[in-house]
Amino acid sequence: MSIDSSEIEKIAWLARLSLNEDDIPASKADMSKILDLVEQMNTIDTGGIEPLAHPMDIRARLRADEVTETDQRAHFQKNAPATEDGHYLVPKVIE
C-alpha cells in the first residue's frame, strides 16, 4: 500500500503537525511500510464478528452528576505558557 505526498500533507494537517518538506519522502516510506504490515488483517474473514472495545466487554461507568472538583485554576495554570487574568492566551482568532 503506497501513500502519496498530498495524502501525507493532508494527514499531517488533520493531526495538526507541522511537516518539514524534507521529511515527506521518509514519512511516505514509513507509513507505507506500516500500512503493509497492517494489511495482513485482511487475510482473515471477520464477517459476523462483533468488534471488541473493552477486553471484558465492560461499559464505562458513569458517575453521579455532582460537583466533585474544587477550583484549582491558579494551580493548574502554573503550567500554562501564557495566561492573563485567569485566561489562557492564544494568538488573535477574530480580526
Binding site: M31, Q40, N42, L52, P55, Y88
Partner: protein
C-alpha cells in the same frame, strides 16, 4: 546491601536494623554516581526522598508502618507526581510539573514508600528500546552498547543495576515485560482494569496498564498488593477485591496445567532462547506442573491489529497537547493553527509523530471500517482464542521476546522491525490479560525472559508459579558485573 530485595529490605527496616533515612541516603548516593553510566533517571528527587524517609522512620518507630514503609522506589516518568517534573520522555512535557499525584504514586506513598526519582522511557511510551526518549536512551547494564528494551527501559535498567529495589512501569504492548526480559528482572503487567490509570499519561487507553518491575516475583506481589484496587477516578477500573498475592506464593504446583502455544515456538524464535525456555519448562515439570501444546491461531494478527488500535487511540489521546494549557509552545506563532502545528511538530519526536499520523489516517473518513473496526474484530478473535485455551490449561507459557537485547540503533531505521520485538507480548494487551516476565537464564551473556500469561485476575497464579520457579533457580539474583558491590 544493594542486592537486597524489597522483602529483605522490609525485614531490615521493620527490625530496625537499618533506618529508612540511612537506606535512602545510600541509594541516592548510588544513583547519583552510577546513573551517569546508564541514564535510567530523567529526574532524581533526593529532597523528597529524604523527607519521605524521615516520615517512614517515624512510622516505624511509632508502630504504624506497613510492609513497604521506608523502601525506596522509582516511578516511570509517565506517572504524574505532584510538584515534580513529569515529562513522559518528551520535549512536549519537558517543562511540565504535575499538579497532582497519579493513583499509583499516591497509593505507594501512602504505604510509606520513598520516591527516589522518575525513570527514563520511550517518548509517551511509544517504543521498544528506550531510544525514542527526548533525554537519550537508558542503557542496558548487561552491555552498555545495547538497549534495555522499552518503553519502561529506565525502570528495568535501574532495577537490574540495583540502583533501586523496585520501580513502576506501564505496559501497552509489552512495555513492562519486554524490558524486564532484556534486563534480567521480573516485570508484571496486570489484568486491564486492575491498576488505576488515573494520572498515568495516556497512550492507548484500552491497552495501557501499570505494574511493577522488581528483582523477584515475591517483590512484585508486594508492590501489586498496594498498587491494585478499584479507583473511582479511572472509569475503566474494575471494582473487585484485590487478592492476597503474597499468601498464594507458597502454593505447590502439583498438577497445574500449563499450555505452550505452538505459534510462540516457531522459526521466528532465536534458537538459544528456545533452548532456554525448554530448560525452564523442565524445572517447572519437576515442580509438578503438567504441560500441553495449545493453539492461538490468530496470534499472527496481533501485531497488525495492535498497530491500528494503539496509533488510533494515541492520535486521539495526544490531541490534548495543543501548546495552550501546558507543555511546549512554539515561538512567535503567526496564528492559532500555526501555534498548534508548530508546538506539536517541534516537540514530538519521530516515532510519536509516526503513530499520530498512522492513527489519524486509520480513523479518517472512509478508512474507519477497514482499519479500526477490522482491528477490533480481530481483537475479539484473539481474546476468544485465549478463552478457548484457558478451558484446557491454567496458564500459558512462552518466551517474552524473540531475541535478547539488541544493539543501540540496530532497529531505529526500520519501525516495523522494531515493532516485531513485541510479537509475544501484544496479544495479552489486546485481550486484556495479565502477564509476567521472569529471568530464565542467559544467551551470550545477555538475559533471557520467560513469559507466563493467565486468565483475567489470575495474577496470584502467575506470581505463584514465578515464585516457585525462582525458589529453584538463581537467574533473578544475577547482577551485571560492573554494578556488583566490591
Amino acid at each position: 546491601m544493594f542486592q537486597h530485595t524489597i522483602a529483605e529490605l522490609s525485614q531490615l527496616l521493620q527490625s530496625k536494623s537499618i533506618s529508612s533515612v540511612a537506606l535512602t541516603r545510600a541509594y541516592i548516593e548510588r544513583c547519583e554516581s552510577l546513573d551517569t553510566e546508564l541514564n535510567c533517571f530523567i529526574t532524581l528527587t533526593p529532597e523528597l526522598a529524604l523527607q519521605q524517609a524521615k516520615a517512614a522512620d517515624d512510622r516505624i518507630q511509632s508502630g504504624t508502618s506497613e510492609a513497604l514503609t521506608g523502601i525506596p522506589i522509582a516511578h516511570k516518568d509517565i506517572f504524574c507526581s505532584k510538584n515534580i517534573k513529569t515529562s513522559c520522555g518528551s520535549k512536549m512535557l519537558d517543562n511540565f510539573v504535575a499538579p497532582y499525584d497519579a493513583t499509583v504514586v499516591e497509593r505507594l506513598a501512602n504505604a510509606g514508600m520513598v520516591t527516589l526519582g522518575k525513570t527514563n522511557m520511550d517518548e509517551f511510551a511509544m517504543g521498544s528500546s528506550n531510544e525514542t526518549s527526548f533525554y537519550g536512551p537508558a542503557l542496558n547494564p548487561w552491555d552498555k552498547q545495547r538497549v534495555p528494551g522499552g518503553s519502561s527501559g529506565g525502570s528495568a535498567s535501574a532495577v537490574a543495576a540495583r540502583l533501586v529495589a523496585g520501580a513502576t512501569g506501564t505496559d501497552t504492548g509489552g512495555s513492562i515485560r519486554q524490558p524486564a526480559a532484556m534486563c534480567g528482572i521480573t516485570g508484571l503487567k496486570p489484568t486491564y482494569g486492575r491498576v488505576s490509570r488515573y494520572g498515568m499519561i495516556a497512550y492507548a487507553s484500552s491497552l495501557d496498564q501499570g505494574g511493577p518491575l522488581t528483582q523477584t516475583a515475591e517483590d512484585a506481589a508486594m508492590l501489586l498488593s498496594t498498587m491494585a484496587g478499584f479507583d473511582e477516578r479511572d472509569s475503566t477500573s474494575v471494582d473487585r477485591p484485590v487478592d492476597n498475592y503474597n499468601s498464594e506464593l507458597t502454593n505447590k504446583l502439583d498438577g497445574i496445567k500449563i499450555g505452550l502455544p505452538k505459534e510462540f515456538f516457531n522459526q521466528n524464535l532465536d534458537s538459544d532462547i528456545g533452548d532456554n525456555i525448554n530448560s525452564a519448562i523442565k524445572i517447572l515439570k519437576e515442580c509438578g506442573a503438567v504441560f500441553k501444546e495449545i493453539e492461538l491461531p490468530n496470534s499472527h494478527l496481533s501485531i497488525p491489529a495492535y498497530y491500528v488500535v494503539a496509533p488510533a487511540e494515541c492520535s486521539s489521546n495526544l490531541e490534548r497537547y495543543d501548546g495552550v494549557r501546558y507543555g511546549y509552545r512554539c515561538e512567535d506563532p503567526k496564528d492559532l493553527a500555526d501555534l498548534y502545528c508548530r508546538s506539536r511538530g517541534e516537540s514530538f519526536g519521530e516515532e510519536v509523530k509516526r503513530r499520530i499520523m498512522i492513527g489519524t489516517y486509520v480513523l479518517s473518513s472512509g478508512y474507519y471500517d477497514a482499519y479500526y473496526l477490522q482491528a477490533q474484530k480481530i481483537r475479539r478473535l484473539i481474546r476468544d482464542d485465549f478463552q478457548q485455551a484457558f478451558n484446557d490449561v491454567d496458564i500459558i507459557l512462552g518466551p517474552t521476546t524473540p531475541t535478547t537485547a539488541f544493539k543501540l540503533n540496530e532497529n531505529m531505521d526500520d519501525p516495523v522491525s522494531m515493532y516485531l520485538s513485541d510479537i509475544y507480548t501484544v496479544s495479552a494487551n489486546l485481550a486484556g490479560l495479565p502477564g509476567i516476565s521472569i529471568p530464565s537464564g542467559f544467551s551470550n551473556g545477555l538475559p533471557v525472559g520467560m513469559q507466563l500469561m493467565g486468565n483475567y485476575f489470575q495474577e496470584s497464579k502467575l506470581l505463584n508459579i514465578a515464585h516457585q520457579y525462582q525458589l529453584q533457580t538463581d537467574w533473578h539474583k544475577q547482577i551485571p558485573g560492573e554494578f556488583k558491590e566490591s
